[in-house]
Structure formats: C-alpha cells, structure tokens
C-alpha cells in the first residue's frame, strides 16, 4: 500500500565518494568504450581532474534505501521514467552529498487496472553547490 504521506521534504544528505574502480566497473557494465571512463591519463589529458563518471552513474548511489522503497513489491514495480540534469559532471575523487525526496504520488487507472506513480527526486551537491538532479518515476501495478 502506497500512501501519499511519503511525499516529503529533502532528506538529510548521504555522502558518496566516487571511486575509480566503481566508475570502471559501471562503464564496463553498460558497454562503454570511451577511455575517459577507464584510463586516467586520457581523462587528465582532456583536462578532467580524473576519470569521468557516466551520466547515469548516480543510479549506483543506493546505500541509504528509504523504507517506502524497500517495502515495494518488486513483482509489481516498473521503472517509468528517468532524467538527469547536470550543472557539473562527477569525477573520481569527488565527495557528493546526495539528498532525496518523494515529490509526488498519484494514481491513474489504465487498461491494465490501477497504477500508482511515485516521483522521486535526488540531488547531488559538492561543497553545497548543486551538481546534478535525478528524477525517477516508479510505477506500481495494481495500486492499493
């Protein structure tokens, strides 16, 4: 059962340190072949401080899973939408403070019955400057 009461304010930040090994592993898993994700010398030659983190890398920030998410029935969970807006990209060595908030919960009835939509927004900050915003739409089939 999904309650609108999970809509709320931005959580306290969780700090993630971006590791070179994690970037390489993630880049390899998505079939990336650009050396800026694997070879620090190439990245530095491009003027980057270290390896660049792929655009979707913040999806790996999963240390602090909120209660409402762990309680979702994974059999009924669909990923509807995802977006990333970057002010500044992430690099290996960065320490990123990530907050999250559920910004909306609503229901729609479709041909397959009731669907519950949950909108989650996460923001990444470095020294209080906003680096990126990630927005995810989760869809729960069957609703309440």
């Amino acid at each position: 059962m999904i309650e609108r009461s999970i809509i709320g304010v931005e959580s306290k930040p969780v700090t993630y340190e971006i590791e070179k090994g994690a970037i390489k592993k993630f880049a390899k898993a998505i079939g990336e072949d650009n050396p800026i994700y694997f070879n620090e010398d190439v990245a530095i030659e491009k003027g980057y401080p270290s390896l660049l983190a792929p655009i979707t890398f913040p999806t790996t920030f999963r240390e602090d899973v909120p209660d409402w998410f762990s309680k979702l029935d994974k059999n009924k969970l669909l990923h509807g939408e995802q977006s990333y807006t970057y002010h500044k990209r992430l690099f290996a060595g960065d320490k990123v403070d990530v907050t999250e908030a559920v910004t909306d919960v609503y229901e729609k009835s479709g041909s397959n019955g009731l669907l519950t939509f949950i909108i989650r927004v996460r923001k990444g900050y470095k020294e209080e400057a906003l680096l990126f915003t990630e927005q995810s739409t989760f869809i729960i089939r069957g609703g309440k």
Partner: protein, 129 residues
C-alpha cells in the same frame, strides 16, 4: 506537435543483451531486483521471464549521445521514458534527430528500438552549443 527535424544521425546498434551483462549491471549498479537475474523468480513473476534493467538501455543511450556530441560535458539534460521491456538476446539500436534549439541548447529526440523495431525507450536530450 511534430517538430521540424534539422538533422538525423546515424544509428548505433549494440551487441545482443546477455544474461551475464545483466548480472554485471546488477553488480555495478547495485540494482539486485531478482527480476533481472533470477530466472526462477522471473518466470514466476507477472513478467514471465528475465527482463533487462531499464537503466542499462538508458546507459546505451547516453553513450550514443556522447558519441554524437563529442564532448560529454556538453550534455546538460537527458530524459527517458521506458516504453516496453527488453529481454536477454534482444538487440537494441539507438537513434537520434536534432529538432529545435532553445536558449542556446540543441534538442535531440532519442529512440531506442529492439530488433522488431518496437520502441523500448523514448527520450530527449539538451546539449550546449
């Protein structure tokens, strides 16, 4: 409303999705939902079989956009809708069209399609000029 297409880019076709790739993506992303890696769980679920992480297809799409744009740091925003499921052995192709420019940003319309030409992912990206 259809937007005027200013340019169409060459598509990129990725190698077929493998189960090993889903295991690796689960490990690298931390998304251990068994629907992606546990065949028995997946067969008994409403999905009736393993499905690929939507975020894996989004990863393909961001790679493709970076190849088109050249400088990865120029990509300011990318949004996708997951339209249909992707399964192991599916072959994903990425397509892009340049549409309007808004406030110094180029807008690309993006699609990922499977081997049956069905749209699995629809998106847009905004690129610094």
């Amino acid at each position: 409303m259809e937007q005027e297409v200013k340019a169409t880019f060459e598509k990129l076709t990725k190698p077929p999705i493998t189960r090993m790739q889903l295991v690796k993506y689960a490990g690298a992303s931390g998304d251990f939902n068994p629907i992606h890696t546990d065949e028995e769980f997946a067969l008994n679920s409403p999905m009736k079989g393993l499905i690929a992480h939507g975020m894996l297809s989004m990863g393909f799409l961001t790679q493709y956009v970076e190849k088109l744009v050249g400088d990865p740091l120029k990509i300011k925003e990318i949004t996708v809708q997951f339209r249909s499921i992707v399964r192991p052995s599916d072959v994903i192709s990425l397509e892009a069209k340049e549409v309007v420019s808004i406030n110094n940003l180029q807008k690309l319309e993006l699609h990922a399609k499977n081997q049956h030409e069905s749209i699995v992912l629809k998106g847009e990206a905004f690129i610094d000029k």
